[in-house]
C-alpha cells in the first residue's frame, strides 16, 4: 500500500467539526453557559484524545469526551432533557465501564490474554461499543436523546463523540485484529443488524433529527463491516467512511439547526414543508450532506461505499452484497423523502422570513465545500494501513 | 451512363413519370369502366382520366385566406415526387436506375410520404371537413399498415434480404400465399376504395382531406394517387407472384395478374358499402392482425 505524501493529522477532524458546531451555536444563539462549558470540554477532550493517540490516557480522554456529551444533553434546556440524560446515562455508563474493562484485559490491544479472558474481553468490548454507537439492538437511548436536544448539540455528539468512538474501534481493529477476525459471526450480525435495522428505524420515524441519527446508525454498521477484514482496501474504506460520516453529519445537523432556529420548533417530515424557499443555503447543504451519507460522488462517502461493497462481497458473497444494496437503497429513499418533504417543494405559507444568519450560512457552505473537496482528493485521507509490527506478530502467532 | 443520368431517366421516363402516368390513367380507366359495367352504365371513354387531369392542370388555383401558402403548394409536389421515386426503385425490366438493390425499406418509407402529405394537407387547408378527413386517413394508415408491413417483412424473412430482386426470385412457398393475402387485405384501404373509402367519404365529409385543393395542385395529388395504384400492383406482382423465366410468358403473367387485381378491387368496391371508421379499425387490428401473425409465421417456417 503506497503511503500518501500528504495526510491530515487525526485530531484535525474533531477540531474542525467542533469548531463548526461552536460557530453554528454562536450564530444561531440560544445556548446557556452550562451548554458552552460542556461543549468546550467535549471538543477539547476529543481533540486531546486524538493528539495523544492510542494509549490509556487517550482512552480516558475519550471517555471524558463521552461524559461531556452527557453533560451537554443535560444542559440542553429543553423539557425532555432530564429524562434523556437519565436514559443516556443508563447506556453510557455501563458502556464506558465495559469498554474500559475490556481494554484493560487486553492491555489496549497489545496483549492477547489466555482463554477465556480474551473472549470475555471481546464480549465486553462488543457490548460497550454497541451501546456507545447505538448499534441495533442497543439503540434505545438514541431517539430519546435526539428528540430532546437541539440539532446543534447533535453536531457535537454525533460529529465529534460518535466519530471518536468509531475511530477508537477502528484503531483497535488495526492494533488487535483478532478481536474482530476471530469472532466474525457475531460482529457481522451486529453490523448487518445495524445496517438494516438503522434504516428500518429511520423509515418508521417522522422527526427529522431522529431520522438522521438512525441513518447514522446504519452508516456505523456499514463502517463496522469494513473493519471486519484485515484487507487494506476494506480498512481504508472504513477510515474514509468515518471521516465522510463526520463531515456529512455536520452538514446535515447544521442545516437542521438552521431550520429549527428559523421555525422555532423541531423539523418533522410529517408537518414541515418547503423550507428551501426561506433557507436556500441550508437546503442545498442538506442535499450535499445527504448525498455524502448515501455515497454519491464526489465525496468521501463514495470512496468508502465502493470499498465497502467490495468488503461485503469478500465477507459474505452475493447475499451480503444484496443486503448492503438493500440498506443503501433504503437509505437513499429515506434521505430523499426527508429532503423532498422538509426542504424542497412548496412552502406551507408564503410569509417572508429572515434568512439564516450569515455566519451560520458560511459554516454550512464551508462544510459542503469540504465534503466535495475531500471527495475530489480522497488520497489525503487515506491513512496508512500497514499493521504495526507487534500486531502483525500477534496475528501470525509469534510471541511477544 | 452516369448514375445521375440513369436516375434521371428512371425518374422521368421509365419506370417513372412519362410511362407510368399513362399506365396509371389506363388502369384507372379500366377500373372505372368495369365499375360502370357492373352498375349497368356505359362508362367513360379511354382517355377520360387523362382529360380530367388536363382539365385540372389548366384551372386556376385558389388558396383560401389564412392558409400558409408554402406548405399548401409543397405538399402535393412532395407527394408526387416520392411516389415517382418509389417507381424508380421498382425492379421492372428495362429500369435504367442502378441496382439500388431495390431496397424494400426505402420503398415502403417512400410509400408512406404521400399519406403523410395528405394528412398534413387536410389540416393545412383549415377546413373542418379537411381535418376530419385527414384524421380518418391517419387512423386508417395505422390500421392497414399492420398487415401491409407484416406481409413484406414475412417475405423479407423468407428470402433473407431486403433486396426486391432477391425477393422476386425467392423460391415459392406457403408464405407467398399467406403474405399475399395479407397484402391484398390492406390494398383496398391503401387505395381508399370501398369498403374502406373512409378518408374521402363524399357523402360524409364532402371531399375529405383534399377539400381545399383545386386546379393543378389537386391534379398533382390525383396523379400521385393514380401512380400509387401502379406501384402497388407492381409490388404485388413482384413480391408474391412467381415469374416464369421466358420474358413473354412473364409479361403475360404480369398483365393477367394486374388485370385480376384491378378487377377484383373494382368488384369489391362495387358490391360493398362503406364501413365506419371504428369498424374498419377493428377489422384491421383483429383480422389483419391474425393475417399478420400467420404471414410472419409462414415466413419463419422452413
Amino acid at each position: 500500500m503506497v503511503s500518501p505524501t500528504l495526510t491530515l493529522p487525526p485530531f484535525a477532524l474533531p477540531l474542525a467539526v467542533g469548531l463548526a458546531g461552536a460557530l453554528l451555536a454562536v450564530a444561531l444563539g440560544g445556548r446557556n453557559k452550562a451548554w458552552w462549558g460542556a461543549a468546550i470540554l467535549l471538543v477539547a477532550t476529543a481533540v486531546a484524545a486524538r493528539l495523544v493517540g492510542h494509549s490509556a490516557l487517550g482512552a480516558t480522554l475519550g471517555a471524558a469526551s463521552e461524559l461531556a456529551a452527557l453533560a451537554l444533553v443535560a444542559a440542553s434546556g429543553t423539557r425532555d432533557a432530564p429524562a434523556a440524560t437519565r436514559t443516556f446515562a443508563l447506556a453510557l455508563v455501563p458502556a464506558i465501564v465495559a469498554v474500559g474493562a475490556g481494554l484493560t484485559l487486553i492491555r489496549l490491544g497489545h496483549l492477547r490474554p489466555a482463554a477465556p479472558w480474551d473472549t470475555i474481553a471481546v464480549g465486553l468490548l462488543m457490548l460497550g461499543f454497541a451501546l456507545k454507537l447505538a448499534l441495533v439492538p442497543l439503540y434505545f437511548w438514541l431517539p430519546v436523546v435526539a428528540r430532546a436536544v437541539p440539532a446543534v448539540s447533535l453536531v457535537l455528539i454525533v460529529g465529534v463523540v460518535d466519530t471518536g468512538v468509531l475511530a477508537d474501534l477502528a484503531e483497535l481493529a488495526q492494533v488487535a485484529p483478532w478481536i474482530l477476525a476471530d469472532h466474525l459471526a457475531p460482529w457481522t450480525v451486529l453490523a448487518a443488524a445495524s445496517l438494516l435495522g438503522g434504516v428500518a428505524l429511520a423509515i418508521a420515524e417522522t422527526d427529522l433529527k431522529t431520522i438522521l441519527v438512525f441513518t447514522g446508525v446504519a452508516d456505523a454498521g456499514l463502517i463496522l463491516l469494513g473493519l471486519l477484514t484485515v484487507d487494506p482496501v476494506s480498512q481504508t474504506g472504513a477510515s474514509l467512511g468515518l471521516v465522510g460520516k463526520a463531515l456529512a453529519d455536520t452538514a446535515l445537523f447544521g442545516a437542521v439547526a438552521c431550520g429549527e432556529a428559523a421555525l422555532g420548533r423541531p423539523l418533522s417530515i410529517a408537518t414541515t414543508r418547503g423550507l428551501a424557499g426561506r433557507l436556500p443555503v441550508a437546503s442545498a447543504v442538506f442535499m450535499v450532506g445527504a448525498g455524502a451519507l448515501v455515497g454519491l460522488p464526489p465525496s468521501l462517502g463514495f470512496s468508502a461505499h465502493w470499498r465497502l461493497f467490495r468488503t461485503a462481497e469478500v465477507v459474505g458473497g452475493p447475499v451480503m452484497v444484496t443486503l448492503v444494496f438493500v440498506a443503501v437503497a433504503a437509505l437513499l429513499l429515506v434521505m430523499v423523502r426527508a429532503l423532498h418533504r422538509v426542504w424542497l417543494g412548496p412552502a406551507e405559507t408564503e410569509t417572508p422570513a429572515p434568512p439564516a444568519p450569515v455566519a451560520a450560512r458560511v459554516v454550512l457552505i464551508v462544510t459542503a465545500l469540504a465534503i466535495v473537496a475531500s471527495g475530489l482528493v480522497p488520497r489525503i485521507f487515506e491513512v496508512p494501513t500497514e499493521m504495526p509490527s507487534h500486531a502483525l506478530a500477534l496475528v501470525e502467532g509469534t510471541a511477544p | 451512363m452516369t448514375p445521375f443520368l440513369a436516375y434521371a431517366l428512371a425518374f422521368l421516363v421509365w419506370p417513372g413519370l412519362l410511362v407510368a402516368a399513362p399506365l396509371a390513367w389506363f388502369e384507372l380507366w379500366l377500373m372505372r369502366k368495369a365499375l360502370a359495367k357492373l352498375q349497368g352504365r356505359r362508362g367513360p371513354p379511354l382517355f377520360q382520366p387523362f382529360f380530367d387531369w388536363v382539365k385540372l392542370m389548366g384551372k386556376r388555383t385558389v388558396i383560401p385566406e389564412g392558409v400558409p401558402r408554402a406548405a399548401f403548394v409543397a405538399l402535393p409536389v412532395i407527394a408526387l415526387a416520392s411516389i415517382a421515386a418509389a417507381l424508380v426503385v421498382m425492379p421492372v425490366p428495362g429500369n435504367p436506375a442502378p441496382r439500388l438493390p431495390g431496397d424494400v425499406v426505402l420503398l415502403l418509407y417512400l410509400l408512406e410520404v404521400p399519406v403523410l402529405c395528405e394528412v398534413l394537407a387536410g389540416y393545412v387547408g383549415r377546413s373542418v371537413y379537411g381535418e376530419v378527413g385527414a384524421m380518418r386517413e391517419a387512423l386508417m394508415s395505422l390500421a392497414y399498415n399492420l398487415p401491409f408491413l407484416a406481409s413484406v417483412i414475412a417475405m423479407a424473412e423468407w428470402a433473407g434480404s431486403f433486396d426486391l430482386r432477391t425477393l422476386a426470385a425467392a423460391p415459392f412457398g406457403l408464405v407467398h400465399v399467406v403474405a399475399g393475402a395479407a397484402f391484398l387485405l390492406a390494398l383496398p384501404a391503401r387505395l381508399k376504395s370501398n369498403p374502406f373509402s373512409i378518408a374521402n367519404a363524399e357523402h360524409e365529409i364532402v371531399a375529405g382531406g383534399l377539400i381545399e385543393y383545386s386546379g393543378p395542385l389537386l391534379g398533382l395529388f390525383e396523379l400521385a394517387h393514380a401512380l400509387e395504384i401502379v406501384v402497388l400492383t407492381e409490388l404485388f406482382v413482384i413480391l408474391f407472384v412467381p415469374m416464369p423465366a421466358a420474358p413473354l410468358a412473364a409479361l403475360v403473367v404480369w398483365v393477367a395478374v394486374g388485370l385480376a387485381l384491378l378487377m377484383g378491387l373494382t368488384l369489391l368496391a362495387a358490391t360493398t358499402a362503406r364501413l365506419r371508421l371504428a369498424q374498419a379499425f377493428r377489422f384491421y387490428w383483429v383480422w389483419g392482425g391474425a393475417m399478420s401473425v400467420a404471414a410472419l409465421a409462414a415466413g419463419l417456417a422452413r
Binding site: L90, A91, M126, L127, A130, P137, L138, F140, P186, A200, I203, A204, V233, L296, P297, W306, F309, R310, E313, F325, L333, V336, L344, G345 | P3, Y7, F11, R60, P64, E65, P68, A70, A71, V73, I78, A81, S82, A84, A85, P101, L106, Y109, E112, V113, L116, G122, Y123, V124, R126, V128, Y129, E131, L139, L142, L149, A150, G160, S161, F162, L300
Partner: protein, 618 residues
C-alpha cells in the same frame, strides 16, 4: 494543454468562470459565456477527429492519482470521440438556444449554466475514462446534474417530484454498475477497460448487472417511468439531458461492454426483446399524450429502444446502426424539444388541446419542426431514415424478426403520433385564447438565437440524411472498429453499401432535389395562384366555432385500441414495494419497541447474556 483533455477543461473553466463572475454578468451574458465554453469544447472535439478517424487511440492523464491508485486517464477511441462530439455539439446548440430562452428567469441562472456545463463535462469524462471507476463517478455525477437541473424550480412540487423520480430510479439501478465494477476489481485486480485481464472476470452476471444500470439511464421498459416526470424541467434541460445526452449514457455503457468482453451470446437476445417492448410501449403511451413535452419524452423511450436494439444485435452492422441512430436521435430529438420550448415560450402552454394554427405566427419554427418530425418518422432524405434503414437491415441480417417487426410498427405509430402533434400545434385553426393573444400581438416567432440553435441541429438532420457517409466515415465506423469489430458498412458519395444491400442516397437525393426544383420553375412560369377573398369551404353551413377535431379526437380510436397496453405501468409495482417496506419497518419497530426501547435495563441484561452465550459457543 493536452488536446485530449481540452474539451473537458474548456467546459469546467466555463463553469468556474460562471461562478466567479456571477455578480457582474447579465442573464444574457451568462448564457453567452456558457455557449462560448461549449463551442470551444466542440471545436477541440472536432480537432480530435482526424486522429480517431484513422483508428488512433489518444490518451492523456488529467490527474495522476485520484483514489485507490487509479488515475483520471482519458482514452479516446472512436466510441469516446463519438460521445465527445455528440455532447459538445448538442451542448453548444442547446446553450445557444438557452441564451434567450432562459433570459427571463428571475433567479438561478448561474446555477443553471454551471450545472449544464458540468453535465456536459461529466458526459465527456464518462465517454473518455480509461478506468471504469472513473466512468462510474462520471455516471453518478451526471445523474446528480440531472437531479439538480430537473429540480431547477425547486419550489414547484411537480419539478421536485420529477427530480426525485429521476434520482431514485437511475441511482438505484446504477448500483448494478457499481457492484459489477467491484466484482471485476476483486476478480481481476484491474478496472482498465483496455486491459485484457478484465475479460476473465466479465461473466454473464457482471454483464447483466451493467445492463440493468444502463436500462435505467437509457429508459428501457420497465425502468423508463422517470422520463415523463422529468419534463417538468426547463426545456433546455429536457433537450440536452433527456433527449440528446443523459439518456445516451446507458448506450455508452452497453457499447463499452464490447471493449471488455463478448456478452451478446447470452444477453443479446433478452436485451433485444426488452428493446422491442420498449419501442412499442414508448410509442403507444406517446399516442395518448396531450402535453407536448410528455409526448416527446415517451418518444425518447421508444427511440432508445431502437438504439439499444441495434447494439444488442452484436454484429458490426448492428452496432453501426445503433451508434448512427444515437447521433441522429440526438440531433432530431434535441430539435424537437427546443421547438416545444419555443412554442411554450411564445404561447405559455404546451397542451395540444389549447394550441393550433401556429404556422402563421411562427413560420420558421414550423419549418424546423417539420424537418425534425420527418427525421424521427423516417422520411427518406433525413438521417432518421438512414438510421432506421441500417437498423432494419442489421435486424434482418441477424434473423431477429421480432425486433424488425417492432421497429417497423413502431415507426408507423411514430409517424402517426407526430402527425397528431404537428397538426394540432402548427396547423388547423387557432383556438380562441390564442387568437385573442395574437390580436394583442403577444404571440411571436422564436428569437434569432433560439432559431439558430434549433436550426443548426435540424440542418444536421438533413445534411446527414443526404450524406450519411460524412457521419459514418468520420465518427461511426471508427467507433465500431474501436470496439473490436470489422466495419462492413462502407460509405462513399455514391451511397452506403453494406454486405446485404446499398442505398444510393446522395445521388438519389440530388435527383429528387433537381426534380423539385424543376417543378418549382414550372410552377412559377404557370399561372400564379389567386388569393381567395372568402374563407374555407363549409358546404354552406356556418363553421361551428369551437367544434373542431382536437388532439384528443385524433388519437382517440388508437387509444381505445391499445387500451390494455396502458395498464402496463410498472410504477405501482415500485411504489408498492416501498410502501410495503415502510409498513414492515413500522410494524417491526412497534413490535419490538416494548423491549428495545421501553425496558433498557432488561435489554442490556439480555444483550449481555446473548453476547456471552454466542461467544462461549463460538
Amino acid at each position: 494543454m493536452d488536446p485530449v483533455t481540452l474539451p473537458v477543461l474548456a467546459l469546467l473553466a466555463g463553469a468556474g468562470l460562471q461562478l466567479v463572475l456571477a455578480p457582474w454578468l447579465s442573464p444574457l451574458a451568462k448564457g453567452r459565456l456558457a455557449a462560448l465554453a461549449a463551442a470551444l469544447a466542440f471545436a477541440a472535439a472536432l480537432a480530435l477527429l482526424p486522429a480517431t478517424m484513422h483508428g488512433d487511440v489518444l490518451t492523456a492523464t488529467l490527474t495522476p492519482v485520484w483514489d485507490a491508485d487509479t488515475a483520471v486517464t482519458f482514452r479516446v477511441d472512436g466510441l469516446a470521440a463519438l460521445f465527445t462530439l455528440m455532447g459538445t455539439a448538442a451542448g453548444t446548440a442547446i446553450l445557444i438556444f438557452s441564451i434567450r430562452y432562459m433570459a427571463d428567469e428571475p433567479q438561478g441562472l448561474t446555477r443553471f449554466y454551471t450545472i449544464m456545463l458540468v453535465f456536459v463535462a461529466g458526459l465527456l469524462v464518462l465517454g473518455s475514462a480509461a478506468d471504469l471507476l472513473i466512468a462510474y463517478v462520471a455516471w453518478e455525477v451526471i445523474g446528480l446534474c440531472s437531479y439538480t437541473l430537473v429540480g431547477f424550480w425547486y419550489r414547484q412540487k411537480a419539478a421536485v417530484d420529477g427530480a426525485r423520480k429521476v434520482l431514485v430510479i437511475t441511482h438505484l439501478a446504477g448500483y448494478g454498475f457499481l457492484v459489477a465494477i467491484v466484482l471485476l476489481q476483486l476478480r481481476t485486480g484491474t478496472l482498465d477497460w483496455a486491459d485484457p485481464k478484465l475479460a476473465a472476470g466479465f461473466t454473464t452476471g457482471v454483464a447483466a448487472l451493467m445492463i440493468v444500470s444502463a436500462m435505467a439511464k437509457s429508459v428501457m421498459f420497465p425502468l423508463h417511468t422517470w422520463i415523463p416526470e422529468a419534463m417538468n424541467a426547463p426545456t433546455p434541460v429536457s433537450a440536452l439531458l433527456h433527449s440528446a445526452c443523459y439518456v445516451k449514457a446507458g448506450v455508452y455503457l452497453i457499447a463499452r461492454m464490447y471493449s471488455i468482453g463478448p456478452w451478446t451470446p447470452e444477453l443479446g437476445g433478452p436485451l433485444a426483446i426488452v428493446a422491442s417492448v420498449t419501442i412499442l410501449v414508448g410509442v403507444i403511451f406517446a399516442l395518448k399524450q396531450t402535453d407536448l413535452k410528455r409526448l416527446l419524452a415517451f418518444h425518447t423511450v421508444s427511440q432508445l429502444g431502437y438504439i439499444v436494439g441495434g447494439l444488442a444485435i452484436g454484429t458490426a452492422w448492428g452496432i453501426a446502426a445503433g451508434l448512427f441512430y444515437t447521433l441522429s436521435h440526438a440531433l432530431f430529438k434535441g430539435t424537437l424539444f427546443m421547438v416545444a420550448g419555443s412554442v411554450q415560450h411564445a404561447t405559455g402552454t404546451r397542451d395540444l388541446t389549447r394550441l393550433g394554427g401556429l404556422s402563421s405566427v411562427m413560420p420558421w419554427t414550423t419549418k424546423i419542426w417539420i424537418v425534425a418530425a420527418a427525421a424521427i418518422a423516417g422520411v427518406p432524405l433525413t438521417n432518421g431514415f438512414v438510421a432506421k434503414w441500417l437498423l432494419f437491415g442489421a435486424a434482418l441480417d441477424k434473423g431477429w424478426l421480432f425486433l424488425l417487426a417492432a421497429g417497423w410498427i413502431g415507426s408507423i405509430l411514430t409517424a402517426f403520433s407526430f402527425l397528431k402533434a404537428t397538426v394540432n400545434v402548427f396547423y388547423g385553426a387557432m383556438p380562441v385564447e390564442l387568437a385573442r393573444a395574437q390580436a394583442r400581438h403577444e404571440l411571436h416567432e422564436a428569437s434569432p438565437s433560439m432559431l439558430i440553435g434549433m436550426g443548426l441541429m435540424a440542418a444536421g438532420c438533413v445534411v446527414f440524411g443526404l450524406a450519411p457517409q460524412l457521419m459514418m466515415d468520420a465518427i461511426v465506423a471508427p467507433a465500431v472498429a474501436g470496439l473490436g469489430f470489422t466495419p462492413d458498412v462502407a460509405t462513399s458519395w455514391g451511397g452506403i453499401a453494406t454486405g446485404r444491400g446499398a442505398i444510393g442516397l446522395t445521388v438519389g437525393a440530388t435527383l429528387v432535389a433537381a426534380a423539385l426544383a424543376m417543378g418549382w420553375i414550372v410552377w412559377r412560369l404557370a399561372d400564379a395562384p389567386t388569393r381567395a377573398t372568402v374563407a374555407v369551404f363549409t358546404g354552406g353551413e356556418p363553421l361551428p366555432a369551437g367544434d373542431r377535431p382536437g388532439a384528443v379526437d385524433f388519437a382517440g380510436m388508437a387509444e381505445d385500441a391499445f387500451h390494455p397496453v396502458y395498464g402496463v405501468d410498472p410504477d405501482p409495482l415500485w411504489l408498492g414495494i416501498w410502501s410495503r417496506a415502510g409498513r414492515v419497518a413500522t410494524g417491526t419497530r412497534n413490535a419490538f419497541a416494548p423491549l428495545l426501547e421501553r425496558r433498557p435495563a432488561l435489554l442490556i441484561l439480555l444483550a449481555t447474556l446473548a453476547v456471552a452465550a454466542t461467544l462461549a459457543l463460538g
